[in-house]
């Protein structure tokens, strides 16, 4: 110890010297790991109350969601198979690629329940990979936003430039494959106007698609993809394009087509005149027309409600099970007799 070489000095002087140069660690709550702490313990009471609480919250939410979903009236009509002339069912691709054939098709749907306006009109595609890496990257946001940047077509391959080398606006595969089936609705003799404004997100219209950017060289190539655009309308007004270019996450998706702002009554027959232009036959995708109302929770989907009810119910069950176990076979809190060294007495 340091005393042994400190040489002769009085004990008190020695002690004060060590005090002055003490190596004693400085005190702080952090270094001493003495920060005030709470230590939650999974006691049976605690566990039971947690499960009960979850159950109490989840079951009402589940009921409410299910109720909301049930209030939504939804009409789904698959038309890709029905709208093919009987003689061409074996050769759908030839049918859809043949420009000469008139693609008009008439569908009649019955309203199963009263539908309050607004009634949202969707098209639903299936097996269409808008999330494919090549597809999702094939666009140029700068070009869409700013007319001066029309030449920025990087990433748009192979729909980059027209044959003469001037840039395509909007370039890229997404815009090129724009969905182009159209629907018109009549109820009896009354035609139902489809309102196609405000079907896209406002931020897209205002900030991502320029109001002074107009289509150029669009769908002028040898291979025409999807729909064409109105050359006299700026991109920010072409809401179908904006909706289409907000890519979907999964291969089955719906996109908003428009809104019918008239109430529909139960058993009304709606006649839909549609143009079956869009080729989903190549990749065996279904096409569906959807008319739907919404609730506070959006469209019709029972999953969330059922999920909430299931988890809530499960939690109630677990709470009950724990309670039973707790009463049938109570175990003292911190019962040290369960510790192995108390059980065997040897310290293992």
């Amino acid at each position: 110890m340091n005393n042994s070489y400190a040489g002769p000095s009085s004990a008190s002087a020695d002690a004060s010297a060590t005090r002055r140069n003490s190596k004693r660690p400085k005190y702080s709550k952090f270094t001493q790991q003495e920060l005030p702490a709470c230590k939650p313990i999974l006691t049976p009471q605690w566990v039971i109350s947690v499960f009960t609480l979850i159950g109490l919250i989840f079951v009402p939410i589940g009921v409410a969601s299910l109720f909301a979903s049930n209030n939504v009236v939804e009409i789904v009509d698959r038309y890709d198979t029905e709208c093919i002339p009987k003689n061409m069912t074996d050769n759908k691709i030839a049918y859809i690629q043949n420009q000469a054939i008139n693609k008009t098709c008439i569908r009649k749907v019955r309203v199963p329940k009263d539908m309050d306006q607004p009634i949202y009109v969707y098209y639903q595609l299936d097996n269409f990979y808008q999330n494919h890496r090549r597809y999702v990257k094939s666009r140029n946001d700068a070009q869409l936003r700013d007319e001066k940047k029309a030449n920025e077509t990087s990433g748009c391959d192979p729909e980059k430039t027209a044959a003469n080398g001037s840039p395509i606006v909007p370039c890229g595969l997404i815009a090129w494959s724009l969905f182009n089936d159209t629907y018109t609705f009549t109820r009896g003799n009354q035609s139902l106007t489809v309102n196609k404004t405000n079907i896209s997100w406002k931020s897209d219209r205002d900030h991502k698609f320029g109001s002074n950017v107009f289509p150029k060289n669009f769908q002028n190539g040898t291979l025409v993809g999807g729909g064409s655009l109105d050359l006299n309308k700026s991109l920010s007004e072409q809401e179908d394009l904006i909706v289409w270019m907000r890519t979907a996450a999964l291969p089955t998706f719906r996109k908003l087509y428009g809104k019918i702002e008239v109430d529909l009554k139960k058993n009304d027959i709606i006649t839909v005149v549609l143009k079956n232009n869009y080729n989903t036959y190549s990749f065996s995708g279904k096409k569906k027309l959807v008319l739907s109302t919404t609730s506070w929770l959006g469209g019709k989907n029972d999953f969330l409600g059922i999920g909430y009810l299931t988890v809530g119910g499960l939690c109630f069950f677990l709470a009950a099970a724990f309670t039973v176990v707790y009463f049938v076979k109570p175990r003292k809190l911190g019962d040290t007799s369960y510790l192995s060294w108390n059980r065997t007495g040897t310290g293992r």
């Binding site: 004693r24 391959d157 595969l173």
Partner: protein, 1098 residues
């Protein structure tokens, strides 16, 4: 097993285990001193004295440190990924992978560079120190250390460091003695005496070297600090050189004006530099396992990516069939390589690379650096723990390496030294037996029969009035005298001395019947030692610099009884002695002829002196066995009584030594001396053995004088600490050099042995064996011993296995001799198996080598983490052998600390170090994967099942998150205004779920919340939302798909919140249910303890 072997070879410091290695080295070094006939060219080429301890040079820093960095698997992987990420393959921008890599690698490299720069600066400073060198003709001139060469003569002044390893030629003291402080070498602060050869003592001035010419042949450079073999050829005569003449670089000249020395080893050849290799890097088990985990993750990454790319390839291939496009919207006819249906296999391969990058976050790049940071923090916590700070010695705990922090939490077996570790190593001379009469009546701390027995040294000085009740004096350090007390009072407070017997005190011993024996007894104590007296500068008091506290206690005891040792020269020892005939103190000087130093083989030391009556005397003190074996027939007068007393003393937990002497005849001495000289002149590796053999020839026919008993008190808190460690399921083995009885008593005193434990004693100390040994037939004895040990071990083993059901704890006690047989190849496993089944194991009479061997046996045999704790040089082997070495920075110098991984001031801090810090460190490191102490011992937190369980939990949670959120959001309108969710909305929802789940999962796992945990858990979740909002406000050119996504689409949307709530709770539920089930129905130890109402903070 391989690790064990490698460790054995990587041991670097001295220790008896290294003997063999030293003998492997040659003895080829030739040093010419002052020999003008030898031309410069003929001199053997030895390196200059400049040293470099740096790891890198400026030229090789970049490549070498980069190489070091990318030897880590994870770093290499990320480097490759970063390179690939510049290609169009990358699913994200290159910077997002490159930046973390550069930060991680750069930070580590910067740390290396700074450390190396510090070393460099230190090297420059050292190399440019000045020293006086003889110029070969007449004078000394000053030069830098780095210019020194082998064969130079240097002059070193007081308080200077020696620039190289020197042979001491002469010193300013007439007798050629000098004092050396070796703090930098072994941390020991006591002064050591060095002594030059008689022939060179006259070289005491600068001019005397003109005619001096010498040649030295000696061993090659090695790292053994305490051995040296060499011969000096001077004027046709050979002179043996021993460590006594060697001054080592980095030690300091003290109490001596100057010395002259001859340089024999320079630069990296010096012993200190040979020692200065990197300590054997002990890698923690977690770190090793971490590498394996990385491999597993990498495998799953490859699997995942390849599965994905196979499907991708198939899909891509089908995009064009018979000239028809399938997914026409991808324009498969004009595709790039990455998606080309015509080259689908190449595209699939590229996709595989992309997948590797995309899922690269599987392998946490920051893992190593996070672990590093955590470890540094943990070391800081250990170093700064006030509860491990020792007030008395002003020493905080010290984590000398941060590698093994979490290993502390997994210790399975502790191998502990006794003296200085369990006890204070502050010796008090309490009893003695002289000529068959026992003196001294003081109670001792470890008196048998008392249940409590727990009396510790407290270190404070008690200034209580002298009374029998307080006769147990407390001690402090080794200053012998406390000047604050007047001489009259001082006797009561003399440290190291607590013999209370009026028959001896104040000169009363003269009246005792065997007073001549008493006189010889204390004379032996005053003469037979290696203590150096130092006259204090303030008073005339004498302080003793002793190598061991026992010796100091003996010298002090002798002084207290009137035999005051006051001067030592190379040739004499002087005492103030009370002469009963004259009735007053006289100064008496004894001519010192030979000193037979203590060796662990002989277990005794002797001194041969010629007294003033020209009588040749040999004084000897040593282990009782070593003395009793060699008694003369007429010296056995008190053998029985002394033996009985020794047994009593050791039963009382005292350390005993026997004291004996013999008279020598001149002829006998002469013949023996010639033999002894020859042995000490030998320049071979087995010189020590030869010296021992020579010593044994004269250490015989002793006349027994008596025995001493020295008390070594238990350290504060030892029994409690041992008890708690035992509760934590840690086994404690005590390896001690003490006698069996002493060890057993200490075992009881410190709670290692308890009532109700069945003791198994394995010993060779039986009458049959002793008889056999006396017959002297070595082979027969060894064979019988082996058989006896084998039989005893087998019996014990069956006894333990049979009574396992009734769960009686067993204690195994084995002595050193038996241990020697038990550690032999054939019995090793039986012994280990037996020992493992016993709750406590005590090995007594063990040598340092046996300590290391036992440690290795436990480590390799059980494959569990072992911790060795000790304080002395004899524990070094054990400390380095164990997975973790803990040094006690106590009284016996710093050697143990220097070779340890952790240093603490007292044994009781071990409890906190292991059970608190070790456990926390372990849990914290183990919890670093996204994926109570007994748990630590069983390696629960980091076991493979646990890792797999966490991985499964992770997979389960991610499956739940994915399917629940996609099924909820699906295709329908996502909001009241009819808009369905796109890629961005689903992404935000899902990622919200992930962030919340991960953080809440952590909150569920944590058992302990301070503001730090609260801040980071809730802060992380909050930060995600803040980030979403702020990033969303960035112009769309920067934020792209995230533009306003939260504010516009999610924030006021009940569906978003309900989906998130539902998904997060569902993802957490499996873990929550599992842990509640496990905690309440199948509890783990830490769960129970956590619930114990009285538990204060762990």
């Amino acid at each position: 097993m391989f690790g064990c072997l490698r460790r054995r070879w990587s041991r670097r410091r001295s220790g008896s285990l290294d003997r063999q290695k030293a003998s492997g080295a040659g003895y080829s070094r030739v040093v010419h001193c002052n020999d003008p006939e030898i031309q410069e060219d003929d001199r053997p080429l030895y390196p200059l004295n400049a040293v470099s301890t740096t790891k890198y040079t400026i030229a090789n820093f970049l490549p070498k440190s980069l190489f070091e960095q990318f030897r880590r698997v994870a770093n290499l992987f990320f480097l490759v990924v970063a390179c690939v990420s510049f290609s169009p393959l990358a699913p994200y921008r290159a910077v997002s992978i490159l930046l973390p890599l550069v930060v991680v690698v750069g930070a580590t490299m910067a740390k290396e560079a700074v450390e190396d720069w510090r070393r460099k600066k230190q090297d420059i400073e050292v190399n440019n120190r000045k020293v006086m060198v003889y110029d070969g003709s007449h004078a000394f001139y000053q030069t830098e250390w780095k210019r020194l060469r082998v064969g130079d003569i240097v002059k070193v002044e007081k308080d200077q460091f020696f620039p190289a390893d020197l042979v001491l030629l002469s010193s300013s003291h007439d007798d050629g003695i000098c004092y050396v402080e070796t703090m930098n070498l072994d941390g020991e602060t006591n002064l050591k005496t060095k002594q030059c050869l008689q022939v060179t003592t006259m070289l005491c001035s600068d001019h005397s070297f003109q005619k001096f010419k010498a040649l030295i042949k000696c061993e090659d450079p090695n790292e053994n600090l305490y051995s040296f073999v060499g011969t000096m050829y001077h004027e046709g005569t050979q002179y043996p050189l021993s460590p006594q003449q060697i001054l080592l670089r980095d030690s300091k000249l003290r109490n001596t004006q100057h010395i002259y020395g001859l340089v024999i080893f320079t630069g990296h050849d010096t012993k200190v530099m040979q020692n200065a290799m990197d300590p054997p890097s002990k890698r923690s088990k977690i770190e090793k396992r971490m590498d394996k985990i990385i491999y597993i993750l990498f495998t799953s990454l490859v699997l995942l990516s390849s599965t994905g790319s196979i499907f991708f390839g198939i899909q891509t291939k089908q995009d064009i069939s018979d000239g028809k496009f399938k997914r026409w919207y991808l324009r498969p006819d004009k595709s790039s390589v990455l998606f080309d249906p015509k080259g689908a296999s190449l595209a699939a391969f590229c996709h595989f690379l992309t997948g590797l990058m995309l899922f690269g976050c599987f392998i946490p790049i920051s893992l190593y650096i996070s672990i590093e940071i955590v470890k540094v923090l943990q070391s800081t916590f250990i170093n700064n723990d006030q509860e491990m700070y020792c007030e008395e010695s002003d020493k905080p705990a010290q984590a000398r390496t941060s590698n093994l922090n979490e290993e502390l939490g997994q210790v399975n077996t502790i191998l502990s030294d006794k003296t200085g570790t369990l006890t204070c190593n502050l010796m008090q001379f309490v009893k003695c037996s002289i000529a068959g009469v026992a003196f001294g009546s003081g109670l001792t701390a470890v008196e048998p029969g008392l249940g409590g027995l727990k009396q510790y040294c407290t270190f404070e000085i008690e200034d209580l009035p002298h009374s029998p009740a307080v006769s147990r004096k407390t001690v402090k350090g080794f200053e012998i005298e406390d000047p604050s007390h007047s001489p009259a009072v001082s006797r009561k407070t003399v440290k190291g001395f607590n013999l209370r017997d009026d028959r001896l005190m104040d000169g009363h011993w003269v009246n005792e019947p065997n007073s001549d024996f008493i006189q010889k007894f204390f004379r032996t104590l005053a003469i037979c030692h290696t203590v150096v007296p130092v006259i204090g500068n303030k008073s005339s008091e004498i302080y003793y610099e002793a190598e061991s506290p026992d010796e100091a206690a003996f010298v002090v005891a002798a002084r207290e009884l009137g035999f005051e040792f006051y001067e030592r020269t190379q040739t004499s020892i002087s005492l103030h002695e009370f002469d009963p005939k004259i009735g007053r103190d006289v100064d008496r000087s004894y001519t010192l002829l030979n000193m037979l130093h203590f060796s662990s083989a002989r277990k005794r030391m002797s001194v041969i002196v010629r007294d003033e009556e020209e009588q040749l005397l040999l004084f000897c003190k040593g282990a009782d066995s070593a003395i009793f074996e060699n008694l003369a027939d007429d010296g056995r007068l008190f053998e029985l009584e002394t033996k009985r007393h020794i047994d009593e003393y050791s039963e009382a937990g005292l350390r005993t030594l026997a004291v004996a002497y013999r008279k020598l005849s001149e002829e006998e001495y002469k013949t023996w001396h010639a033999e002894f000289l020859m042995a000490s002149n030998a320049v071979t590796a087995d010189r020590d053995e030869m010296l021992d053999a020579a010593a044994e020839k004269i250490e015989k026919d002793f006349i027994l004088l008596g025995a001493t008993a020295v008390e070594d008190k238990l350290q504060k808190g030892v029994p409690e600490c041992i008890n708690k460690l035992a509760q934590a399921g840690i086994k404690i083995w005590v390896l001690t050099g003490d006698k069996l009885e002493t060890a057993v008593k200490i075992g009881f005193a410190c709670d290692l042995l308890r009532k109700g434990m069945r003791q198994i004693v394995v010993t060779l100390d039986t009458p049959d064996m002793n008889a056999l040994e006396k017959q002297g037939r070595r082979e027969a004895f060894e064979k019988a011993s082996y058989e006896s040990i084998a039989r005893q071990l087998n019996e014990a083993h069956s006894q333990v296995t049979v009574s396992k059901e009734i769960s009686i704890p067993f204690a195994l006690i084995i002595d050193g001799k038996s241990l020697g047989f038990a550690l032999s190849r054939n019995l090793e496993n039986l012994f280990l198996d037996l020992a493992i089944r016993c709750a406590s194991v005590i090995c007594c009479r063990t040598s340092p080598k046996q300590k290391a061997m036992v440690t290795r046996l436990v480590k390799c045999g059980t494959r569990k983490t072992t911790l060795a704790i000790g304080d002395g040089a004899n524990d070094v082997g054990m400390l380095q052998e164990a997975d973790i070495g803990v040094g006690i920075s106590g009284v016996e110098g710093m050697q143990a600390v220097m070779s340890s991984d952790f240093a603490i001031a007292q044994f009781r801090f071990l409890e906190r170090l292991l059970l608190v810090h070790g456990h926390w460190c372990y849990r914290r490191i183990a919890a670093m994967f996204p994926l109570l102490h007994q748990d630590g011992v069983q390696n629960v937190f980091f076991s493979w099942t646990r890792i797999i369980r966490w991985m499964l939990n992770g997979i389960c949670s991610s499956i739940i998150i994915y399917f629940l959120s996609t099924s909820s959001i699906l295709i329908q309108a996502f909001r009241h205004d009819g808009k369905p969710a796109g890629l961005a909305e689903l992404g935000v929802t899902m990622y919200t779920c992930v962030i919340c789940t991960v953080n809440l999962q952590m909150a569920l796992y944590l058992s302990y919340f301070t503001w730090i945990q609260h801040l980071f858990i809730w802060g992380s979740i909050l930060f995600w939302f803040i980030f979403l909002v702020i990033y969303g406000f960035f112009p769309p050119a920067i934020s792209t798909t995230a533009y306003l996504v939260f504010i516009e689409t999610c924030f006021q949307n009940p569906f978003y919140w309900l989906t998130a709530l539902f998904t997060v709770i569902s993802a957490l539920l499996p873990y929550f249910v599992y842990s509640t089930l496990q905690a309440n129905i199948f509890p783990k130890y830490h769960d129970i303890v956590k619930r114990m109402p009285s538990t204060s903070s762990p």
